[in-house]
């Protein structure tokens, strides 16, 4: 047998076969040969029912986290809103999961499956909380675990938030491999999958996303218990899209009629693969640098077809600034007595603004918190920003320029979520999809794209005509 070539091009050329062996899914089964593919069939292909997923999560002590009413933040919102306005805000305290975030739900089915299928270990490509989630489940399942992070710039300066996540992964028994900036992280992961025969615990496989459905389902059920009705709005921090996709699917599964809003930290102008800009940002997840591209083209992930397809479920998309999220993290600690990690509070920052648009009878659920610790903390991240030349001040957050400044609101009334043009994003997805084929989209493609963008065939045909 010829020895395998390990150049970047050679490894990327065999990514299809590597991923197939490492996820155990043949994605060609779901393809139509054109734009359309059978998304729901792919989501069912794991072989695990919703009940199975709940039982698997119970086995790892994941889920059933508290839904906490933020009475003081609601009172603050009502002081800011016009008369009769200011929805009740609740938060799902996902930091209570064993690994400290909702990502535990994403890891559970994958690792249970990897164990059952006889894989000796699992690999996850992540700089986020997902690493600790995979490490935690692997520890409980007796599997080996490798977490591959993008952590440093070429000066060997690491993001404190990511270094903390490395520490946590190691504490839970994982091997952590850290890289400098660049999308070739995927190349490194492919080589490791090939060398080890481990399971690819992809964030974007159906195994990863069905686990989050329990979160949406719990939110609906806890709302019925605590307030006797569906939540009017659920706000999800949006990066790769799995959080929103899974939560919305869980809400639908529970029968809840709820508006689903995405929220991301605005990092406009910063290039995610840039060595010199890597440490100019103070958020390594939950930001527009992932949120925008992964919404408008989900299949850029590490599996051929992503199970995270947020535009299918998104009713609205808002951004908040870095300063607003650090400020909100301080509010949660100072007004509610809950010290949590900043990135998970992106959706809470948005909710404080959105609640002012809704009547007092309405309810908003913020569907996550995450753990905090050294490195992953407002003071750590703002100090790091200062060390990297970012100007940190109190003022009006609308003056913040990502990569240059962070402005904490001087007063709570200055916190304001900004709407993203969702139709523009939908047209972008449709246009990109059309560019992947060399013929006119079929009727099946048009129906598929309507579902992909939560629109209708008229919208899709209009977007295709403009293209």
């Amino acid at each position: 047998m010829m020895p395998k070539l390990n150049s970047y091009e050679a490894v990327m050329a065999r990514k299809g076969e590597i991923v197939k062996a490492a996820v155990g899914v043949d994605y060609s089964e779901f393809e139509s040969g054109s734009i359309a593919f059978d998304y729901e069939r792919m989501m069912r292909s794991t072989g695990y029912s919703f009940k199975d997923v709940m039982e698997i999560q119970r086995g790892y002590a994941i889920g059933n986290t508290p839904l906490v009413e933020l009475k003081n933040i609601t009172a603050l919102v009502r002081k800011l809103a016009k008369d009769g306005f200011g929805a009740r805000i609740f938060i799902k305290d996902e930091a209570a999961n064993p690994s400290g975030s909702f990502k535990a739900r994403r890891a559970a089915t994958s690792i249970h499956h990897a164990k059952r299928m006889g894989y000796p270990g699992a690999i996850a490509a992540t700089s986020g909380n997902y690493g600790a989630a995979v490490a935690s489940c692997c520890a409980k399942s007796g599997l080996k675990c490798i977490v591959v992070q993008e952590c440093y710039d070429s000066r060997k300066v690491g993001q404190p938030e990511i270094i903390e996540k490395a520490r946590k992964c190691e504490a839970l028994g994982a091997e952590v491999v850290q890289l400098t900036v660049g999308p070739e992280l995927f190349y490194t992961v492919l080589r490791m999958l090939e060398d080890t025969g481990y399971f690819n615990a992809s964030l974007y496989s159906a195994f990863g996303v069905i686990g989050i459905e329990t979160l949406g389902w719990e939110v609906a059920h806890q709302c019925w218990e605590q307030i006797g009705k569906d939540p009017d709005m659920v706000v999800c921090t949006n990066a790769g899209g799995g959080n929103l996709t899974g939560t919305a699917r869980g809400l639908i599964r529970a029968g809840a009629k709820t508006q689903v809003v995405a929220a991301s930290v605005n990092l406009k102008g910063l290039h995610m693969a840039s060595d010199t800009q890597f440490n100019k940002k103070s958020f390594t997840t939950g930001h527009t640098g992932f949120g925008m591209p992964f919404s408008t083209w989900p299949d850029r992930s590490d599996v051929p077809r992503s199970a995270a397809r947020p535009l299918r479920y998104m009713d609205r998309y808002v951004t908040v600034s870095q300063g607003e999220v650090f400020y909100t993290t301080e509010l949660l600690a100072r007004l509610e007595g809950m010290e949590r990690g900043p990135a998970g509070n992106t959706s809470l920052a948005a909710a404080i603004s959105l609640a002012q648009e809704l009547p007092q009878s309405a309810t908003i659920v913020v569907q996550e918190t995450e753990y905090t610790g050294a490195g992953k903390h407002g003071c750590a991240q703002l100090s790091f920003a200062r060390q990297n030349g970012i100007n940190v001040s109190l003022g009006d957050p609308k003056d913040e320029v990502p990569g240059e400044s962070i402005v904490l609101p001087a007063r709570p009334s200055l916190l304001h979520a900004t709407d993203v043009d969702l139709d523009h994003m939908r047209r972008s997805l449709i246009s990109h999809a059309a560019s992947t084929i060399d013929h006119a989209p079929t009727d099946e493609d048009v129906a598929f794209l309507a579902a992909e963008t939560k629109t209708n065939e008229t919208f899709v045909l209009g977007a295709l005509k403009q293209n």
Partner: protein, 99 residues
């Protein structure tokens, strides 16, 4: 001097400057893709030596020895007065009756 069997950290280059992906921005293309990991040292060595380690999952990795018994130094950062002031302001706005 690090001893055989010590828990160490190593550094290596995965892709040299000319080997980086085409889609990478120019500033990133000008620097190599570097890697760090940890494992048990396979022979006595000094910092800066090329060594082999066995990682926690049993993989063999080669690279430059950069640290013996590595530990974490990340922290809660410096005092950030703006954050404290913002929290104080919100607290008195809500509980102190100040407008």
């Amino acid at each position: 001097m690090a001893k055989k069997g010590d828990w160490v950290r190593i550094h290596s280059v995965v892709l040299q400057v000319g080997e980086r992906a085409a889609a990478v921005p120019d500033d990133t293309k000008r620097v190599p893709l570097e890697l760090w990991t940890k494992g048990y040292l396979q022979r006595d060595a000094s910092i800066g030596d090329e060594v082999s380690v066995i990682t926690r999952t049993g993989r063999t990795e080669r690279g430059t020895l950069i640290d013996d018994a590595p530990h974490y130094e990340h922290s809660f950062g410096d005092f950030v007065p703006e954050l404290q002031r913002a929290g104080d302001e919100a607290f008195s706005f809500l509980f102190g009756g100040e407008e």
